[in-house]
């Protein structure tokens, strides 16, 4: 356990990718650094432990990336998903800097691999970490320890002494006692509030009780709350979070990647009344992925059921829990505790509406429905080949968008737009500046790596003054 009583040059709050990038960078510039992670060691790393890649601009193929991914295309992808809720200057800066991240990452122990099985669509844009995000986090912690970064686990920053935009000290709870930790500069890299159910309920009402959280229970957003309460500029939609449809049988917290279920486009999705409620064939995976959590959250009791027949088997990433299986639609309904007559009726009407076409899951094909609401515009095939399978779905909350404003040097902005004297922010806590809404695979890690390194550099420089 490091000495919490002494004064450090740089105090880093958080223990994920951005925090580690900041701590390593600041330490290499000669600053004394304390990193404070609220989770115990086994669950360290925040949401980074569940990530798997980094979206990387590149002009030519690299050892792990195919073809090229130029700045403008990257920017357009971001523009598309955010619907303009972004800051072009910060975004383009992030995109350009992403091209220089991987050598630094390799230097600090991160290893890359070609895109994973089932993720060919990302092989051009995203560099995958060998072993995934936890392996990356482990490598950074090894690197930080070797450099002499002091690390406190199970240590939660609960309050900050912050006056006129200047940080003086933090109140850190550890092992039942409260410590006042002072430092010359602060890096806030402690993520969002996705695990904070009461906070989610503020935005979503009682429905949030039924949400499953994909990360650890430690992403409470306490530092974010304190910063905003004490005058930091808030950015990003305070009420929104990124939610995907995951298996309802997943654990309440920390189910991570493996709980996702994506056979939505191969069948139909019904709510607890066995009624369809949205076009399952509207679009491809990235968009589908980003909207279905919210769609399920909008249904009664926040539950839905993805229903497929045996034609779909083997055509989607295998989910972690086996499907509920039955020889007939009625039986399947009973097994899923749905009204058998209602589900039979829904399937019958859906099947009758399916128009003939040439099924092609790799394109927006011509298999659509006619005369049914909501329609299924692509990949519609009758559900008629037993056995039938069902997966129960719930919203799985990945991350939140609310953050604090920053400038290009990662310096936190106060509500009046003035930069803070010695507070810097990196990672999910400021990602809302750039990703105000939507989802772009691997972009969170890009923001964290780019701004983590800048925040570390600036904090070290600031501490020297």
């Amino acid at each position: 356990m490091p000495d919490l009583a002494r004064a450090y040059d740089v105090l880093v709050l958080g223990g994920g990718n951005a925090a580690l990038c900041a701590a390593i960078t600041a330490r290499k510039l000669g600053a004394s650094v304390l990193l404070v992670e609220s989770a115990p060691k086994a669950f360290r790393g925040g949401n980074s432990r569940h990530t798997r890649n980094l979206r990387c601009m590149h002009d030519r193929p690299t050892d792990v990336l195919t073809e090229a991914y130029p700045e403008d295309e990257y920017w357009e992808d971001l523009l598309k998903v955010t619907g303009g809720q972004t800051d072009e200057r910060l975004a383009r800066y992030t995109i350009r800097t992403s091209a220089t991240c991987t050598p630094w990452m390799v230097e600090h122990g991160v290893r890359f691999q070609p895109s994973l099985g089932g993720t060919l669509h990302l092989s051009r844009t995203n560099a995958f970490f060998l072993g995934g995000g936890k392996a990356l986090v482990n490598a950074y912690y090894r690197s930080a320890e070797a450099l002499g970064v002091a690390i406190a686990y199970d240590a939660e920053a609960q309050d900050l002494d912050l006056r006129d935009g200047r940080f003086h000290s933090a109140t850190v709870a550890n092992g039942g006692t409260s410590h006042k930790v002072s430092a010359k500069a602060l890096v806030a890299a402690s993520g969002g509030f996705e695990s904070n159910i009461p906070w989610l309920k503020d935005a979503w009402g009682p429905a949030a009780e039924n949400f499953l959280i994909r990360g650890t229970p430690y992403n409470l957003g306490r530092v974010l709350r304190v910063l905003i309460d004490k005058g930091a500029k808030a950015v990003g939609d305070p009420k929104q979070c990124h939610a995907v449809a995951i298996d309802a049988r997943a654990p309440k917290f920390d189910g991570g990647i493996c709980t996702r279920v994506d056979c939505v486009s191969l069948g139909i999705v019904v709510n607890k009344h066995a009624r369809r409620f949205y076009d399952e064939g509207e679009d491809f995976w990235p968009k589908r992925y980003a909207i279905w959590g919210r769609l399920v959250a909008g249904q009664p009791d926040q539950i839905a059921y993805s229903i497929i027949d045996s034609k779909a088997v083997g055509k989607f990433m295998p989910p972690v829990f086996p499907p509920v299986k039955a020889g007939s639609i009625g039986e399947l309904a009973r097994a899923l505790e749905l009204d058998p007559a209602a589900l039979e009726d829904t399937v019958k009407r859906f099947n009758a509406a399916v128009r003939p076409g040439t099924f092609n899951h790799a394109a927006l094909d011509d298999c659509g429905t006619e005369g049914i609401e909501p329609p299924k515009t692509h990949w519609a095939r009758p559900i008629d080949t037993p056995p039938y399978f069902g997966y129960p779905l719930r919203p799985g909350i990945t991350f939140t968008y609310l953050g604090v404003g920053v400038n290009e040097r990662a310096r936190m902005l106060m509500a009046d737009g003035q930069p803070s004297a010695n507070i810097f922010a990196a990672g999910e806590i400021m990602a809302g500046n750039i990703l105000g809404k939507g989802y772009l695979a691997g972009f969170g890690m890009t923001i964290g790596t780019v701004f983590g390194r800048i925040a570390g550099e600036e904090a070290a420089r600031n501490a020297r003054q």
């Binding site: 086994a42 669950f43 432990r49 569940h50 798997r52 290893r111 691999q113 070609p114 994973l116 099985g117 089932g118 993720t119 669509h121 995958f128 970490f129 060998l130 072993g131 995934g132 995000g133 936890k134 392996a135 482990n138 090894r142 654990p251 920390d254 991570g256 990647i257 493996c258 709980t259 996702r260 994506d262 995976w285 088997v313 083997g314 055509k315 989607f316 990433m317 295998p318 989910p319 972690v320 829990f321 086996p322 899951h361």
Partner: protein
């Protein structure tokens, strides 16, 4: 752990891994897993034997304990491997030896055989055993014919037992026997074994004995394996000398068999000691404690085989030769007899699994994913 729980756990682990896939770049297990949607016992036995127990996936795992999914592939697959070793053992009633073949039993077997041999030599000709022999002629102590017959028969038995084990393993995978000798896959599989490609952890080595990646285990395994191979080569050359050229042992210090045996012997001193050292330091989180005895017993026998062999070589012209010969032959015989019922069998099933993995890689990817 009772059998069904063990396989239920292994099946759940593979379902988690197959839905996650982050560890795909570490070793051959995960790409092989991705070719499947369901994991029957036969699949799990194959995948477990493909696993080298390096630990890379454990430290990278989001679902490792204390996560409630409790995914621990190195330990779980070590337990499945132990089950397969018993399952494929021949004759089947000797399968329980795997559980008893710890350090004490291995060493006691070797010691008992050494004492027995010494007593037999002494019984034949007491004066000869404790005399010094010019040139270290050990055939004075044990006639060539007796040695050849003893070790020949034991060797054939061992070969038979291992072959039957291999056939049982291969059959259970569902592959026809002739597929094993498909040249390209056989070549790839053997090459992967010779390089220990799957202990590279994707480049930096594997986190063994603790979470820091290193090549230590690969290096010490190479010492062990190639040491073993050189000693075997020494025996083969000696056999050729004897039967083809009529050149009788003992051979000169700089002769091919003695040089091969000495270099190999050094490998068999360094390798097993290194592996035992790493084993002692291994992170208890990834270890399977029930397997320690079997592994350590085999490593100690390898070490002692070499130590007694080198001692015999060094002192072959002294009066200690007869005793050392009995001890060395006792250890070698102990090693041979325990080969089919101890850690050595991992080599058979590992190579078979690697060849199967290479075979599968040569075939088109079955339709098991779409995203």
């Amino acid at each position: 752990m009772p059998g069904s729980d063990l396989f239920a756990k292994a099946e759940f682990n593979m379902q988690v891994c197959n839905a996650c896939r982050y560890c795909e770049g570490f070793c051959a297990v995960f790409p092989a897993m991705e070719r499947r949607l369901t994991f029957a016992k036969a699949d799990l036995r194959y995948l477990a034997n493909l696993c080298h127990g390096c630990g890379a996936c454990y430290y990278a795992c989001q679902y490792a304990p204390p996560h409630e999914f409790d995914v621990n592939i190195p330990r779980n697959f070590a337990q499945v491997r132990a089950e397969t070793y018993r399952r494929y053992a021949w004759p089947s009633f000797l399968a329980s030896l795997f559980e008893r073949n710890g350090v004490v039993v291995s060493l006691a077997t070797a010691a008992a055989l050494a004492v027995f041999l010494l007593a037999t030599f002494y019984d034949q000709a007491p004066a000869v055993v404790f005399a010094a022999h010019r040139g270290g002629d050990f055939y004075k102590v044990i006639p060539h014919g007796v040695m050849v017959w003893t070790f020949g028969l034991v060797g054939l038995y061992v070969l038979l037992a291992l072959t039957i084990g291999f056939v049982r393993f291969w059959r259970e995978t569902g592959e026809p026997i002739h597929e094993f000798v498909e040249p390209a896959a056989l070549g790839h599989g053997i090459l992967d074994a010779l390089h220990l490609k799957n202990l590279r952890g994707g480049g930096d080595g594997c986190p063994y004995p603790d979470e820091r990646p290193s090549h230590k285990r690969r290096v010490f395994h190479h010492f062990t394996f190639y040491g073993f191979l050189l000693c075997f080569a020494a025996t083969c050359v000696g056999t050729i000398y004897h039967y083809v050229f009529g050149w009788m042992a003992p051979y000169a210090l700089w002769s091919v068999p003695v040089v091969l045996g000495t270099v190999g012997g050094i490998g068999l001193l360094v390798g097993p000691l290194g592996l035992l050292w790493l084993k002692g330091k291994r992170d208890p989180d990834t270890d399977e404690p029930a397997q320690f005895g079997m592994d350590a017993g085999f490593l100690w026998l390898l070490f002692l085989t070499s130590l007694t062999g080198l001692a015999l070589l060094a002192l072959r012209e002294t009066a200690a030769m007869g005793t050392l010969l009995a001890v060395h032959l006792g250890v070698v015989l102990g090693l041979f007899l325990t080969l089919p019922y101890g850690k050595f069998v991992h080599a058979v099933y590992r190579v078979a699994a690697l060849v199967r993995a290479a075979l599968e890689r040569s075939r088109p990817m079955p339709e098991v994913t779409f995203e």
